[in-house]
Amino acid sequence: MKELEKLSCRRRVALLCDYLDGELPAASRRLVAAHRRSCLPCAQVLASLERTVRALKGLRGDAKPPAASRRTLKTALARAARPRR
């Protein structure tokens, strides 16, 4: 892909990130998508990175701080507020 080869390493990384994150402008996205269809090694790298990102997004589930920890924080906040009143 000649257009990609012309880019510096830093810009190529930014382009790849933006592609994976769906943040590339339509024209550049089409360019990468076309290259992906014709280059198996690139297609494999992109597919493996897409799966990695999906696996990480799988960690987004609910996270609640434990009740004991919330109580401790509440007590600490009340203590911190007292001298200021």
């Binding site: 930014a14 990130c17 690139c42 799988g58 960690l59 987004r60 996270a63 911190a80 507020a81």
Partner: protein, 206 residues
């Protein structure tokens, strides 16, 4: 519903009740960040969660009204995670270098559905939790400088610009660390799944 601005104003004047309402708006996000960045050290996640809000309450006078509270809280929490990690592990900054050519892997798994939710069977739920544990383990092996970027971007879903503000990095540096972090994790996932292949076919390895 009281606006965030009003709650901040009351909290600045030492109103712990008003601040508790701000805490309840942000605590899940901050706790999740602490959990994934301080993974393997559960008491540290609790400590970071508490310290983040206590520090914010004490320093709220210095918080700019036009700034974003969430970004500011993420920054405090990220700094706390980072400092604890450096202190405990004495972990130096380890630059993850790009390999000369990243096309050399023929063992790539075929593409497949990641999860077949929303109604997973018990078996699928078990496999999903296996995958979640494997992802958390791999994250724990990623150097903390990269882990912070990956968790803020891919787990918390912050934009590159907001992540850069939280970590006081350039957007280019965020993208560079994100890319290297993702490559590292991809290889870690493969290693761990090659050693312990997941049972069944509901979930493909990353």
């Amino acid at each position: 519903m009281t606006s965030e601005r009003e709650l901040i104003e009351k909290s600045r004047n030492g109103d712990a009740e008003a601040f508790s309402r701000l805490v309840s708006r942000y605590e899940d996000r901050i706790y999740r960040l602490a959990q994934h960045v301080c993974s393997g050290l559960p008491s540290d996640a609790d400590d970071v969660y508490q310290e983040t809000f206590l520090t914010a309450f004490k320093k709220l006078k210095g918080f700019r009204q036009d700034a974003d509270l969430g970004t500011w809280l993420y920054r405090i929490a990220s700094n706390l995670c980072f400092m604890r990690y450096r202190r405990k592990k004495r972990e130096p900054f380890v630059p993850l270098l790009d390999r000369p050519h990243d096309h050399d892997d023929e063992r790539d798994a075929p593409r497949g559905p990641q999860y077949r939710d929303p109604e997973p069977t018990p078996e699928e739920a078990a496999r999903k939790s296996e995958l979640t544990a494997a992802v958390s383990d791999a994250l724990a092996r990623l150097p903390v400088d990269y882990r912070l970027v990956v968790v803020l971007r891919d787990v918390e879903g912050l934009s590159a610009e907001r992540t850069a503000k939280v970590l006081k990095l350039s957007v280019a540096a965020v993208k560079s660390r994100l890319h290297r972090g993702r490559l590292f994790l991809r290889d870690e996932f493969r290693r761990s799944f090659d050693a312990n292949p997941p049972r069944g076919s509901g979930i493909s390895k990353p």
